[in-house]
């Protein structure tokens, strides 16, 4: 029972972290129709910014500054790069962000080296929130979850309850009409891209200390973030939240399932036969845990190509 509760908690927190990174990606896609390949790079930039500033400012201020810096980089990318290629169509924008992700990764390697850096949780936050059975639950995970939830709440309220939100949503759905009504759509694009990058940066700054901060972290999280966005529905914030939690919890619970297809076939009395075949039949679910999200994506694409809560295909 303890294990089950822990798995559920672990999955939820990991899901919330995934949401933090994917929120910006899905927002930007919904607005500009651009799948931003460099999005996970902002996650990495956030972690490295916070790591560099930590000694100077202390942990809290470093995280805030890193978030703003990542956002600023996002603004620069939109203003001086994406906007220039915008009229060439989506393919060019896609290629641009793809190239950008390589440049950011190589730049990080140039400045910080090829190896993980020692960005760690400050001792003040390194304690157990509660103990269940033999295991402690780290307070920092609770903090990560709180940050993600606060972020979701703020974004949601901002988009649905404020004038800025109305303009942003208008610019997303009917950019030309919004422009004709006198709104500066270019500015909205830049703002949303910047906020998206800042959110990814915040996630990196917070998670980099808990996991590892290394030049490959963009790659590691990037693939999973795309899965989240596809499963949730491109452009849907709620969908991203739902998909993140789903993926987090499914992966976490799968780890403790030691059964294989052969065990399932035992129900119809074909276990011995399945074990003879071996291969896929005897592969434990637990060893596939990290692959399950991709299976989920495949399933969603087959059954509901627009994603769980997506509007457009």
């Amino acid at each position: 029972m303890d294990t089950f509760v822990f798995s559920l908690l672990n999955g939820t927190v990991y899901g919330l972290l995934l949401f933090m990174v994917s929120a910006g990606l899905t927002l930007v896609f919904g607005m500009m129709g651009v799948l931003n390949f460099a999005h996970a790079s902002f996650y990495m930039l956030g972690a490295y910014f916070a790591y560099s500033l930590q000694g100077l400012l202390g942990f809290g201020p470093a995280v805030v500054t890193a978030t703003l810096l990542a956002g600023a980089v996002g603004v620069v990318v939109e203003r001086f790069f994406l906007r220039r290629v915008h009229h060439h169509g989506h393919a060019h924008e896609l290629l641009l962000t793809f190239g950008l992700s390589f440049i950011i990764a190589e730049a990080i390697k140039l400045f910080f080296g090829n190896f993980p850096v020692d960005y760690r949780i400050p001792p003040a936050l390194d304690f157990a929130a509660f103990t269940l059975g033999r295991q402690q639950y780290p307070a920092y995970r609770v903090l990560m979850a709180a940050v993600a939830l606060a972020m979701f709440g703020t974004l949601y309220l901002l988009l649905t309850r404020t004038r800025i939100g109305i303009i942003v949503r208008a610019a997303i759905h009917r950019p030309r009409m919004a422009q004709a009504l006198g709104h500066n759509v270019q500015l909205v694009f830049m703002g949303v891209f910047g906020v998206g990058a800042a959110l990814a940066g915040l996630a990196g700054a917070v998670a980099g200390a808990f996991y590892t901060t290394n030049p490959n972290m963009a790659l590691e999280v990037g693939v999973m973030v795309f899965v989240v966005v596809v499963v949730g529905g491109l452009g849907s914030l709620g969908g991203a939240m739902l998909a993140s939690l789903l993926i987090g919890i499914v992966t976490s619970l799968a780890v403790s399932v030691d059964s294989s297809l052969a065990d399932l076939l035992a129900l119809v009395g074909a276990q011995a036969w399945a074990q003879d075949i071996g291969g896929l039949m005897t592969l434990k679910v637990s060893s596939l845990a990290a692959t399950l999200p991709f299976l989920l994506m495949l399933l969603i694409l087959l059954v509901r190509p627009s994603g769980l809560m997506g509007e457009k295909t």
Binding site: Y14, N114, P116, Q135, F210, A290
Partner: protein, 413 residues
Amino acid sequence: MFARSTISTAVPMLALLCGMAQAAPVKIGVLESLSGPQASTGQAYRAAVRYAIDKLNASGGWNGQPVQLMEYDNQGGPTGASDKLKAAAAEGVQIIVQGGSSAIGGQITEDVRKHNLRNPGKEILYINVGAEAAELTGEKCNFHHFRFAANAQVRAKALVQAMKQAKTLGGKVYSINQNYSWGQDMEKAIVDNAAAGGYTVVEKTLHDTNKIQDFAPYVAKISASGADTVMTGNWSNDLLLLMKASKAAGLKVRFGTVFLDQAGNIATAGEQAAGHFVAQTFNAEAAGTEGDRFMADYKARSGHLPVATEPQTVFGLDMVADALKRTKPENGDLNVNALARNLETTKLKTPMGEASMRAADHQVLLPIVVSMVSKDAKYKADDTDLGFKPVKVFTAEEAAAPAQASCKMQRPS
């Protein structure tokens, strides 16, 4: 991104200018992951190979000529390695050096075997300095492959014995490994050593390689199993994240590892790494003054202290150099088969003790040292105050695991 770069010294240039009368120099090709996510591993191997080749050339090279080092980027995967191996063969490379991954190693050894079957007289030698999968000296073993690294059986055996003697092993061991050839070997080795170590393997887990961000679910599983020690062959992020997650959960277990000494690991793990064990192929503190001398010389020439797999790579290539010296040129050319025969009988005194090549399966027999992460260590890792304190040194004979029966070595007549 450079596909290939050559280290050219003034000497081969001069040789070219002086006329073509002399035979072409022997070419050694490093086929590593020099770009992409695994670049840090590949670049470490390259640094070690450069160091060893410079030393060989400083002592006269081969046949009065310096050996030429070529570098090929396998781009992190077997496909790239296969392509670049063809390029290397076309450019006349006779010795290929690689160590970065067992998956790539498996590809190279197969490609080399096929190439040598199809091109008698133009054989290529594969010097494996780090791919530790058992199959390379087992069912896939071949005459033109030589491994100068340890393997799962050797590492696990040393780790278990040293931890048992240090009374830190406990009776319950949890085995967690990456789900590919190396991780599966390691799991088997951990199970095989259970009787000798006096423990039971409470649970075995194989997980996806380098795909998992969050190890908390695995830690929950380890915690539920009540294990005293976690033994793992994990490397890089999979090792760090596992250790970080278990520390965060307040899990009181000891880690027995194989790759904790990779660059950056101690910096990232920090205090959490203290008290955990690692089976290494080299530890300067255990090697005494010879070790100090090697460390200083390596640093002077490469700009950094050798860590993890760099020393074993240097010693491996030293053995190749030794065999080269004993191979006489035939019409000015190197006969690779003759070199391979000489390699089979090579013995070398390394700073850690004597190492030798076993002819039966081309697995090097080398000393293993088991160390514990501690503040008392002489050499600190990654500019932290922690380092690897030697706990026990095993001579090559003590550490050796028997050759696998599945190896049927085909020697050229």
